[in-house]
């Protein structure tokens, strides 16, 4: 989604003097055009995430800065800058992390962003968004231009979205189908596409939701979930501290026995592979998801 992100920032920058791009020496082949078109609103701070995020916070009185980096670098390397200088000071910096989950596949565990959203979401006063497609990204940015707030934006690698879905921008989620009321599958980020594929493999009409706000469940979504007998969450993120735990905590205690979550439960840091391989190894590929969905639906 990086090309779409930079394109959307540039589109806004043509009519708005506030968007500003700060990069941590990353973005080859993506950020150069923005630099050429807006040289006064582009800075490469070098490989220095802590200074980069502090610098971005300093810009935010005048600009709407995006600090662009990948994987765990902007989160874990500079978590206190996010907490102190952005979130608790209330500066509307967007910290962008490309390469959500296993996007960097064979690059190794240094590049697997599988705990980042939970870490940032543990900070108060910052919103964490994990869109599954460029249209959801667009709705997030649309709100940011008029109501800017501290934000962590976790993006995957897909640039295109061929699925038909209805975005509920005010509730920060998308729906793909109404379902038959028996089960809702809530996913965030690009693994929504695996969820859609998995749903085709089970006989029941599974309602698929893409929830792109990680750290809160909107009232609108909570109301909509009330009509489902069972709820399952799915994420390309550690289960511990993940989206599933957050959803579960929002459910009425009577509903929790009809809740299940799928995420990364164990992780062999030193054995690599492609994203598809890593998803399969963690039972997060479409076939495994379908199997776990069917078992959950059929469980009493």
């Amino acid at each position: 989604m990086r090309k779409s992100l930079i394109s959307q920032i540039a589109t806004r920058a043509r009519i708005d003097s506030r968007p500003f791009l700060v990069v941590g020496d990353l973005g080859f082949g993506v950020v150069e055009e923005f630099d050429s078109e807006f040289p006064d609103r582009f800075v490469n701070v070098g490989v220095s995430e802590q200074a980069g995020i502090g610098f971005s916070a300093g810009l935010a009185e005048r600009f709407l800065p995006f600090f662009y980096s990948i994987g765990n670098f902007p989160s874990f390397r500079a978590l206190e800058q996010i907490r102190n200088d952005v979130a608790h000071e209330g500066w509307p910096v967007v910290i962008v992390s490309l390469g959500a989950g296993f996007s960097y596949g064979s690059a190794g565990y240094s590049h697997h962003a599988i705990e980042d959203a939970g870490a940032v979401a543990s900070i108060m006063n910052i919103e964490v968004f994990t869109p599954s497609c460029i249209h959801e990204l667009e709705s997030i940015l649309k709100r940011h231009w008029t109501d800017p707030k501290p934000m962590y934006l976790r993006l995957g690698s897909n640039e295109f979205c061929s699925h038909s879905h209805q975005i509920r921008a005010s509730g920060f989620y998308s729906t793909y189908n109404a379902g038959d009321g028996s089960i809702a599958l809530l996913a965030h980020g690009e693994i929504v596409h695996q969820a859609l594929e998995a749903a085709q493999k089970v006989p029941q009409d599974v309602a698929i939701f893409s929830v792109f706000q990680f750290n809160r469940l909107s009232d609108e979504l909570k109301n909509e979930l009330g009509r489902f007998a069972k709820i399952m969450t799915l994420e390309e993120h550690a289960s511990e501290g993940g989206f599933g735990m957050r959803v579960k905590s929002c459910l009425p205690s009577t509903s929790r026995e009809n809740f299940a979550s799928l995420g990364i439960d164990s992780y062999d840091s030193h054995s690599g592979g492609s994203r598809a391989h890593l998803l399969e190894r963690n039972n997060l590929d479409p076939t495994s998801i379908a199997f776990r969905l069917r078992s959950f639906i059929e469980s009493s």
């Binding site: 800075v43 200074a51 995020i53 502090g54 610098f55 971005s56 916070a57």
Partner: protein, 261 residues
């Protein structure tokens, strides 16, 4: 005695008095940078547009007393220091008028100020940005990232003062994680470096003026004494980094003939 020196005396006395009254720590750290803050606040008061970032947020009391000395906050507000629900906390709080950034964790202010200075430059502003660092916090890599960034950008209007009192949390900086040769290190990072007596307000004032008119970022290494001017009875060490001032400190301070109210 100059008005600046009188202001310095009053601020240091307020630090001792309030620390004693409210039983709050970091008194020796506040005293080591009090004269530097008086120099900066005096500059701000004399209609020079400037922002002051106290990166060593644990010396907040010195900043608050200097803000009060120059009328940026009221005496009544300062009196709430350390009270429940007060914004005058033990570390610097950006809700206080004249404070651009909350600090407390070391190594945050310089990068933030660099962002502010950059944004100002785009807008053609002549606002000055002064970042007061402790010497101990130079252990933080984030400061060196920011030093590299600010000098690379040649951010006019951004200057650094280092409160070089020679101590950090447990003992001397040089026996903890040696900083020397500090001036050479900063010069190698392409900063213009000056060394001054950090308790001589005339020197401080002159150095601020020189830095302000320089075309490149200046780093002033201000040689200070932790607990000044009570270093001898504050053990010349770190004890009063952790303890509040005592009645004996205040009496001793008041008896010093070198100062006049």
């Amino acid at each position: 005695m100059s008005e600046l020196q009188n202001a310095g005396w009053r601020v240091k006395r307020s630090i001792l008095s309030i620390s004693l009254d409210k039983n709050t720590p970091h008194v020796s750290s506040a005293l080591s940078c009090a004269d530097l803050l008086v120099g900066l606040l005096s500059r701000k008061k004399s209609s020079t547009l400037c922002e002051i970032y106290l990166s060593k947020g644990h010396a907040a009391l010195a900043l608050y007393c200097a803000l009060e000395e120059y009328g940026f906050i009221s005496t009544d507000d300062l009196a709430t220091y350390g009270d429940d629900a007060s914004i005058y906390e033990g570390h610097v709080n950006s809700r206080i008028p004249g404070v651009p950034l909350s600090t407390g964790s070391l190594g945050h202010a310089l990068a933030f100020a660099a962002g502010r200075a950059f944004a100002d430059a785009v807008d053609g502003s002549t606002l000055e940005h002064w970042v007061l660092l402790s010497d101990g916090e130079l252990d933080e890599g984030s400061n060196w990232e920011a030093l590299l960034l600010a000098s690379h950008m040649r951010l006019r209007g951004l200057n650094v003062i280092i409160d070089r009192n020679g101590f950090q949390s447990l003992k001397e900086t040089e026996s903890t994680l040696a900083l020397e040769p500090l001036a050479e290190k900063l010069s190698a990072f392409n900063w213009h470096v000056e060394e001054i007596d950090g308790h001589n307000l005339l020197e401080i004032d002159a150095a601020l003026e020189r830095a302000s008119s320089s075309s490149s970022p200046t780093c002033i290494i201000a040689n200070t004494i932790k607990g000044y001017p009570l270093a001898e009875i504050m053990d010349e060490g770190v004890l009063f980094h952790y303890r509040s001032a005592t009645g004996a400190h205040l009496e001793s301070f008041d008896s010093m003939k070198a100062y006049e109210a």
